[in-house]
């Protein structure tokens, strides 16, 4: 029983980090995925004996949601994870899924799943004294569709539909992660032209996402002019996506084994000009935000996550980098065209709303520079090449606009036996709950918007 824990403990002690945990089926095995700095992935497996597997939550606190999910979906008990609170399973009383809170006259405010504006569904149960949040229990999985289970038994090609529709905001990232995982299992290797087109699509996704996030934070403080400015830029970015690929959210642009995307010189040149204008407009809007005192006053010291907590909780993406964790899957990821990309962190890396917002601006600059470098020639269809032996399992990790996204594919010939998608949003949801503690309730929408995570790709 200690064998898994020994292997994981040794790995974590020698530079590997926790990247995911899932059950293949109710009978097991349970897989633990680890990642290193160079983009390498490693899978450790453990047999399920009498519906039990040892928990690794003390070794990797970031595995909390993963173990709870595997328990709820596959009935596996993780010994040592005590109490093993329900996550996906909603039909239980409050006492079982919320954390007991003691304080001077604490009370609860329950918000959602349906929220005030246009936002995805999820439940937040705040434990408060007055307006101060003592603790937040977040309960998602209201949007759980059972995508991974529904995809079992389909062909590898059909499987990409399930992953692609896990989340619109991560459509490209999830598509690329799935394609690369399948390609690894099939012994296929990327070629420069395929790397270039996939990287371009990933960065186009990141650009509209970060513009949207800046708009959202402005909206979270009530700065309508800022929200409108960046909403207008988000609209322009979506129109550019449609002009280049036929879809505003880049749906249908990624497939296994190659790319069918063909873009001539003229639309490429137009894209270059449009991105230049977008960058100039984003920078001028950003400058206005920097000099808006009442806006800036809302941002510092709110929703603080320190670097050591970010690491412990498994934070990833802009939120982690804003806390000073200088890790970016793009710097490591194989098969893409990110050579030389260095993770950026904001000055001071204060891990508050201010830092997470500034991180979007820094990364937009990175993305505009990358696209400038990538959009130098037309795109023609390309194919991955044969590069190695076939495997029963393939895994890939790609940087979504919200952090590192893992996809593991287990195949049975041409059939998809099991697919597991663990996105940047999934990793960061527990960090949002952590960031809320100690803040005032009216600041929660702002804290939430500074992460701007997806619910759909967490719930699947």
């Amino acid at each position: 029983m200690s064998d898994l824990r020994e292997r994981i403990g040794t790995a974590l002690g020698s530079g590997w980090t926790f990247a995911g945990l899932y059950a293949v089926s109710a009978a097991g095995p349970v897989r633990v995925v680890l990642a290193d700095d160079a983009g390498g992935l490693r899978v450790e497996s453990a047999d399920v004996v009498r519906a039990e597997v040892p928990s690794i939550i003390d070794l990797a606190p970031a595995a909390g949601w993963d173990e709870r999910e595997a328990h709820d979906l596959y009935g596996i008990h993780f010994t040592g994870h005590d109490p093993l609170r329900p996550l996906v399973d909603h039909d239980l009383d409050l006492g079982t899924w919320t954390v007991p809170v003691q304080g001077h006259d604490p009370y609860q405010v329950a918000v959602g799943p349906i929220h005030a504006g246009v936002i995805e569904s999820g439940h937040f149960r705040f434990h408060l004294v007055g307006e101060r949040i003592l603790h937040l229990d977040a309960r998602l999985f209201y949007k759980h569709r059972g995508l991974e289970r529904a995809a079992e038994g389909v062909t590898l090609e059909e499987g990409s539909r399930y992953v692609a529709r896990a989340c619109a905001a991560c459509a490209v990232t999830n598509g690329v992660a799935y394609a690369q995982a399948v390609e690894q299992a099939l012994g296929l290797r990327s070629v420069p032209e395929l790397a270039r087109v996939r990287t371009t699509l990933l960065e186009l996704e990141r650009v509209w996402s970060h513009l949207n996030d800046i708009s959202a934070v402005c909206a979270g403080t009530g700065l309508a002019a800022g929200a409108q400015h960046f909403a207008g830029l988000t609209e322009r970015a979506r129109r550019l996506n449609a002009r280049l690929t036929g879809h505003r959210l880049l749906f249908g642009t990624v497939r296994i084994g190659g790319s069918d995307l063909a873009i001539d010189a003229e639309p490429i040149a137009h894209a270059g000009r449009e991105l230049e204008e977008l960058q100039a407009a984003a920078e001028s809007g950003w400058r206005e935000l920097v000099f808006n005192r009442s806006f800036q006053d809302r941002l510092p010291d709110v929703g603080v996550v320190r670097a050591r907590d970010a690491r412990r909780l498994g934070a990833t993406g802009p939120a982690a980098r804003a806390s000073g964790v200088a890790v970016d899957q793009r710097a490591a990821g194989p098969g893409l065209a990110y050579d030389g990309l260095e993770p950026v962190v904001p000055e001071g890396a204060t891990g508050d709303v201010r830092a997470r917002l500034e991180q979007r601006s820094l990364e937009l600059t990175q993305s505009f520079d990358l696209l400038d470098r990538l959009l130098t020639a037309p795109f023609a269809p390309s194919s991955a090449e044969n590069g190695g032996g076939e495997l029963a399992l393939g895994a890939a990790r790609v940087e979504s606009p919200r952090g590192a996204t893992l996809c593991v594919v287990e195949r049975d010939g041409d059939q998809l036996a099991r697919v597991h998608l663990r996105t940047g949003s999934y990793a960061n949801w527990p960090v949002v709950a952590f960031a809320a503690a100690g803040n005032m309730l009216p600041d929660f929408p702002l804290i939430n918007k500074s992460f701007e995570l997806c619910y759909a790709c967490a719930d699947r």
């Binding site: 949007k143 569709r145 059972g146 619109a168 905001a169 949207n212 207008g232 609209e235 959210l249 619910y455």
Partner: protein
């Protein structure tokens, strides 16, 4: 701040959206019942300077008690069925349901039968269907205006609350 406002005014003049021909008012309560968030992202952009649905008096409200329309995105998951009905029950008459996007219409829905109840019409009577994966902000705006303008309220069939089967 002043530059931001000046730039927005300039942008609005440049985009030159037509003025509404008459006054309207429609308050929408949005309920995400299991979407991939594509419909949400396009719905959000109906309030960008390029579409500006609010100039017609059409906007989102924070409570079903204030709403004329319940706008559903996504196919309805088992966990969202009760919250959806709860929102509907809280809405005063006259009230209408809009199903936004292909999933809410039951097209190309992915997932297991254990987790998905069905399209919006499996739970509530639907008055307006807006197809698309996702529909664009322009398509959403046009369809919502058509709902408002397409028929006088007395011509629409009375909304009936339907228990799930």
């Amino acid at each position: 701040m002043l530059t931001l406002l000046r730039d927005l005014r300039r942008l609005r003049r440049q985009i030159a959206l037509p003025r509404p021909d008459r006054g309207r008012s429609l308050r929408i309560r949005h309920a995400d019942c299991g979407s991939c968030n594509g419909c949400e992202h396009e719905l959000i952009l109906t309030s960008s300077p390029y579409v500006d649905l609010e100039r017609f008096g059409i906007g989102i409200v924070a409570s079903p008690r204030h709403a004329d329309v319940l706008l559903v995105t996504g196919a309805v998951t088992t966990r969202m069925q009760a919250p959806l009905l709860s929102a509907w029950n809280a809405m005063p008459e006259p009230r209408r349901v809009v199903a936004l996007g292909d999933c809410a219409l039951g097209e190309n829905v992915l997932g297991t039968p254990e987790e998905i109840v069905g399209p919006a019409e499996a739970v509530l009577p639907v008055d307006l269907r807006i197809p698309g994966c996702p529909p664009t902000p322009d398509e959403i705006a046009s369809a919502l205006l058509a709902l408002f303008d397409g028929a006088a309220p007395e011509e629409l069939p009375p909304a009936t609350w339907r228990a799930t089967g």
